[in-house]
Amino acid sequence: MALPNHASTLERVWHYAYLVICGLIFLFLIAPILVVIPLSFNIEPYFTFTEKMLKLDPTGYSMRWYDLLLTFGMLEPEAPRDASWWADAWANANWINAAKNSIIIGFFSTIIATGLGTVAALGLSRPEMPYRRAIMATLISPMIVPIIIVATGLFFFYSRIGIQDWGIPYLGVILAHATLGIPFVIITVTATLVGFDHSLTRAAANLGADPVTTFRRVQMPLIMPGVISGALFAFVTSFDEVVVVLFVGGLDEQTIPRQMWNGIREQISPAILSVATILVIVSIVLLTVVELLRRRSERLRGMSPS
């Protein structure tokens, strides 16, 4: 991007203007995500910076909204904070219960999506795969079809088969979230398989390894980064999904996004911002993990960044 010495004045002006424009666009991208972090420490129930906050006066800041996350829904929030208080919070606080539900649903749907998705990706990236294009299009379609259509369809389907009477908690939501996560697993795993050198598996077979050993010792380590980032994508998809939960989830199946949705629609309080802050931190961690995995995958396959 360096400007050559012979650039004219107009080109110089344009070059710096371009950099400023890009800077503004990056600001547009990142500012809305970062702005919630300081606001979640606001002592007042407002969604804007108070004068005290702007002057960095410590009395303008507080942890009260984080505290509310813990105490909201507790039986005795005012009791002294000993072991029984924490037990009460763990058992009754709405947000903690929502987090538990979200993690349970996310965990099982990720397991299903990653397991089925990885095996299918192995088949899809074989050159002999018949009807590859049509099948791939079908498997990716849950990502493309609007969520409201999926939710509407599932609503009719689940009420027809009466899934809530089967006695397995969260089953409907878990299956739906697994479906929504599958495209991400397929995409990330097939991406790691694109550059896969098939002579490696042949070499393993030649050296006497049976197919299972070949898979476990040769293919698996190479596609592992793709599998893990696919799993993370699937987990995030489930962890962030609200429409299907609203349509097919039981009343007791409160998840974090559903709780946020209700909070935003009914009585928006800065407590929502503290949840948002926690989720932003979670996504920073996940992004870091995925980035490290991607680099590891490139290194493993000998595609180091130049």
Binding site: W14, I25, I147, G153, A178
Partner: protein, 432 residues
């Protein structure tokens, strides 16, 4: 084998155990195909059950509504056909026949059954979808059905004088068969008149076509804005050395990984009339305190928030197309005397068109079906078609109409998806 040699043809190649090579090869290939397919099969079955079947059922719901023909007891699940007598009358008399005493007698019998099953509300609701005010007529009539005596026509007219309304009889005739395309007509602001011809509904009740048009317009606008914002930064990322561009990429990927609800909430915080942007503008003296900008709960809110949320889907495909472009082409153009603008327009830009196509199609497909963000920041005039589907599912409970709207939306999306697969190929879809 010997015959082949005897005829002077070249000897056929065989495997070690004497099978013709071609056949053995075919068999091996078929086995490999089967193996590959078996790996995919479990997932395919899973998707068929949890995704394709539900959508197929939704499509069925859009042409099938048994509210007027079948009653299902919520407790026992027992199914009883209803409105059978009037159905017989409809079958015997062609459309447009004036309802006579015989028709009302049949209707009376049906109402006695409705009363017994406590189902007049259900049957009335089905008629109410196409003719407002019918539900209350049905419940009112059913309450008095047991006390009615012949002549039934007068008895019905005593309850409500609209019982001879030809519109009502047209709707009942349509509703008496469970399969109908009327919900698609309703989804396109059309209805049938008394003679069964398809006509537009009243001017002030035409909402769906307008909403489809608005959804398309806003999606195009959002796609264009993401292109406008995405192109410069994708270009910057693609031309910087990888060390810096990987760092700057975080600005694109972090929003991509952040919860949708979090991003929508942030925009609510920023755009509210007492929010950060308005406060900043007032603080800088650019805006009076009493005329704060109304940027949320209208189309501006929807457009701004959705542009932000969908921007990464434009930047990532653009970036992956721009990165491998060889900078020496532009340099060659410059050395041949092109101005930097000409070199960009004639040399660089055409090479990025595939990326623009991929990004724009993806953003457009995602935007058309958006639900959450318009529902939260859109207010009344920033709603998209998805929001109306949700409204009919959850509030008005007109599920068949919701399904018909969803089917129309789905058809549009699938065409675009097919186009995407043709032009770009799903294999080229990348995430981060």
């Amino acid at each position: 084998m010997t015959d082949a040699t005897a005829n002077g043809k070249p000897q056929m190649l065989t495997t070690a155990d004497g099978k013709p090579l071609k056949e053995a090869l075919n068999r091996a290939q078929a086995r490999a195909r089967r193996k590959a397919f078996l790996l995919v099969l479990p997932l395919l079955a899973f998707i068929l059950i949890t995704f394709v079947t539900p959508i197929a059922q939704m499509l069925h719901q859009s042409v099938y509504n048994e509210g007027f023909v079948m009653h299902e007891d919520i407790g026992s699940g027992e199914r009883t056909p209803i409105m059978t007598n009037i159905k017989t009358w409809f079958d015997e008399n062609p459309a447009g026949t004036e309802p006579n005493e015989e028709a009302f007698a049949a209707l009376h019998k049906d109402f006695l059954l409705l009363r017994e099953l406590r189902a007049p509300g259900q049957a009335g609701t089905r008629v109410n979808y196409e003719r407002g005010g019918s539900r209350s007529m049905f419940t009112k009539t059913a309450r008095r059905a047991e006390r009615m005596e012949a002549p039934y026509m007068e008895a019905f007219l005593d309850v409500d004088e609209e019982w001879t309304d030809p519109e009502l009889w047209r709707v009942m005739r349509d509703a008496s068969s469970a399969y109908t395309f009327n919900f698609y007509l309703a989804a396109l602001d059309r209805t049938k008149n008394v003679d069964g011809e398809i006509v537009n509904v009243d001017e002030n009740r035409q909402i769906y076509v307008k909403l489809f048009a608005r959804t398309l317009f806003l999606s195009v606008l959002i796609t264009f804005l993401t292109f406008l914002l995405g192109y410069p930064i994708a270009h910057l990322l693609a031309t910087l050395p990888l060390r810096y561009s990987n760092l700057l990429m975080i600005f694109v990927l972090l929003p991509f990984w952040t919860s949708l609800l979090v991003r929508t909430t942030s925009w609510m915080v920023l755009l509210q009339s007492q929010g950060v942007v308005n406060d900043a503008l007032v603080g800088m003296g650019l805006l009076g305190d009493d005329n704060r900008l109304q940027m949320m709960y209208n189309q501006i809110g929807t457009v701004v928030a959705m542009t932000h949320i969908l921007l990464p889907f434009m930047v990532l495909p653009l970036y992956s197309v721009m990165r491998p472009i060889n900078p020496s082409y532009v340099r060659a153009a410059r050395s041949l005397g092109a101005t930097s603008w000409t070199a960009f327009r004639r040399i660089y830009f055409p090479q990025t068109v595939p990326g623009i196509g991929a990004g724009a199609l993806l953003v457009f497909i995602l935007a058309v079906g958006y639900y959450i963000t318009p529902a939260l920041v859109g207010g009344a005039d920033g709603q998209l078609i998805s929001n109306l589907i949700a409204f009919h599912m959850q509030n008005s409970l007109n599920w068949s109409l919701a399904a018909a709207l969803a089917a129309l939306l789905l058809a549009g999306i699938l065409i675009l998806y097919w186009l995407y697969d043709r032009l770009i190929g799903i294999d080229n879809l990348k995430l981060g």
